[in-house]
């Protein structure tokens, strides 16, 4: 049986309540858009397999609730993420201001070397815009992140941003990947890598080959 994927990543979506995290995700995984998506409680889960540079990457995406009260729960998911989308809504200055707080949460709770990109969502709502494109770019530059304005509604930059974050995670783990390439076809080695990757949290963090 052909293997379904080569590597597995965990990505996380964070940002204020109502900025459209769930909509981004549904557009990406199911190519669907509902303007009034039911609010996320705790953390929701979706997945998709994409191919980047000839590597089949299965991405597990954890979609978090934005309300502050949930952060005790949602922070538990930071630790195992390899890539994080920080999302604000271009029609909400407030959600943009809060990115600072989200970044500091990432610094505190996510593993070192986690890849981040900044997303200004709802780019189709031009008449309601409160955050300029250049403001987004500026902020992303300050934090050394890539930046995309997206619209789940019009399907703008959705695939691009997910692919980009995946590429960044792949690059950050190039060493492990080179190992993967030279052993290509070696199912056992792949399985080991996956196994390693799937281990529960714990002191395994010190292991150099572990992606957790």
């Amino acid at each position: 049986m052909a293997k379904q994927y080569d590597v597995l990543f965990r990505l996380l979506l964070i940002g204020d309540s109502g900025v459209g995290k769930t909509c981004l995700l549904c557009r990406f995984t199911d190519n669907e858009f509902h303007s009034s998506h039911i609010s996320t409680i705790g953390v929701d889960f979706k997945m998709k397999t994409i191919e980047v540079d000839g590597i089949k990457v299965r991405i597990q995406i954890w979609d978090t609730a934005g309300q502050e009260r949930y952060q005790t729960i949602t922070k538990q998911y930071y630790r195992r993420a390899q890539g994080i989308f920080l999302v604000y809504d271009i029609s909400s200055e407030r959600s943009y201001q809060h990115i600072m707080k989200w970044v500091s949460d990432v610094d505190e709770y996510a593993p070192e070397g986690v890849q981040k990109i900044l997303i200004g969502n709802k780019a189709d709502e031009e008449q309601k815009r409160q955050v300029g494109r250049e403001q987004g770019q500026q902020l992303a530059k300050e934090y050394g992140m890539d930046f995309y304005e997206t619209s789940a509604c019009t399907n703008l930059n959705i695939k691009e941003s997910f692919t980009r974050l995946t590429e960044l995670v792949l690059q950050a783990h190039r060493k492990e990947l080179d190992g993967l390439r030279t052993r290509a076809g070696n199912e056992l080695a792949l399985a080991e890598l996956e196994e390693e990757e799937g281990k529960p949290e714990g002191p395994a963090n010190s292991s150099k080959t572990c992606w957790c």
């Binding site: 309540s17 109502g18 009034s36 998506h37 039911i38 609010s39 409680i41 705790g42 953390v43 929701d44 889960f45 979706k46 997945m47 299965r58 597990q60 609730a65 309300q67 009260r69 949930y70 005790t72 729960i73 538990q76 799937g198 529960p200």
Partner: protein, 326 residues
């Protein structure tokens, strides 16, 4: 016919002069007929007194009290101290289900007022996403007293007089408050009630169905990943509204129904899917399944079976020592 005699029994009990609440709970446990549900819920929740003669005055007093809250607090919704609360409520309500009900402007406003007033008066928890869902069953049950609608998802309030709607709003507020009094630690800082209940659910399932428990554990599925929402929204996100209403007939008839008995219902609910769970051999498929359980076609019968199983578990495992577990 059995149903007719059940309905007669309800009517008899409700007629007073003093409703025997223990009898009413016993009778309600297996479901309340639609026509007597509004009154029965108001009694079971503790909103209305058992004495028939005192009911109209109590209703009037409580309704007046709620309208006074609105007078007093509602204008502060855009004040700096409260704007975050109001804003969160305001963006959550249009995202609720059933959309056809919630998006009627009158209904949206009612829900906003109820939730805002509740949040302001309960600063220890304030408004937390999920609390909004708990308004819906009360509102729908109370409004169905005034409109003839078989399908609870399609309730249209336009024919209901403003005065009646106002009183329903007040009744909904008070009944929801009573419910929340029993589960407030679900929504306070760090949500200790939920954390504890998810742990208890895990412990319970490990005792009642070790194979399911080990299967989940072996695939690294954590209970918090699927059961958080079961606790936070009392299974409302997992079941159609009509089933939640039936579930709440029983929850209001059980001592600590929404907190303690709910655990056993969650355990029965999880084990209900044991065949499908054991067939899935992959973390991702398991989690996707558990976060999207196929209950869209569920009816009262399914809920009754679930409740019967929960009841059995409660007796078999309630205070039983851990020797059930090897």
């Amino acid at each position: 016919m059995r149903e007719t005699s059940r309905l007669d029994k309800f009517k008899q009990l409700l007629a007073g002069p003093n409703t025997d609440l223990d009898e009413l709970r016993k009778l309600s446990w297996s479901g309340i007929p639609k026509s007597v549900r509004p009154m029965t819920w108001k009694l079971l929740s503790g909103y209305l007194p058992a004495n028939v003669d005192r009911r109209p005055a109590t209703l009037q007093r409580k309704q007046k009290e709620y309208f006074a809250f609105i007078e007093h607090y509602y204008n502060s919704r855009n004040d700096e101290a409260h704007q975050d609360t109001y804003r969160q409520i305001h963006i959550d309500i249009p995202r609720m289900s059933p959309e056809a009900l919630i998006l009627q402007p009158k209904v949206t406003e009612i829900f906003e007022r109820i939730l805002f007033i509740w949040a302001i008066r309960h600063p220890a928890s304030g408004y937390v996403q999920g609390i909004n869902d708990l308004v819906t069953p009360f509102f729908v049950v109370f409004i169905c007293e005034y409109i003839d609608q078989e399908d609870v998802d399609g309730v249209d309030v336009s024919s209901v007089p403003a005065e009646v709607l106002r009183n329903i709003e007040a009744d909904t507020y008070w009944c929801m408050s009573k419910l929340l009094d029993g589960i407030q630690d679900n929504y306070t800082f760090a949500q200790p009630g939920i954390q504890m209940k998810v742990k208890m659910l895990e412990e319970l399932v490990s005792r009642i169905d070790e194979r399911v428990h080990r299967h989940l554990d072996g695939h690294e599925v954590r209970y918090l990943q699927f059961a958080f929402r079961w606790m936070n929204n009392l299974l409302m996100r997992e079941l159609p509204l009509r089933c939640t209403i039936r579930l709440w007939d029983t929850y209001q008839s059980e001592p600590e129904g929404f907190s303690h008995f709910h655990l056993y219902v969650c355990a029965a609910f999880l084990v209900r899917w044991r065949r499908q769970i054991l067939e899935e051999r992959d973390f991702q498929e398991l989690l996707l399944f558990l976060q999207n359980l196929p209950t869209a076609h569920w009816d009262d019968q399914d809920v009754s079976l679930l409740l019967a199983e929960a009841y059995r578990l409660k007796f078999a495992f309630a205070d039983a020592p851990n020797h059930y577990k090897k």
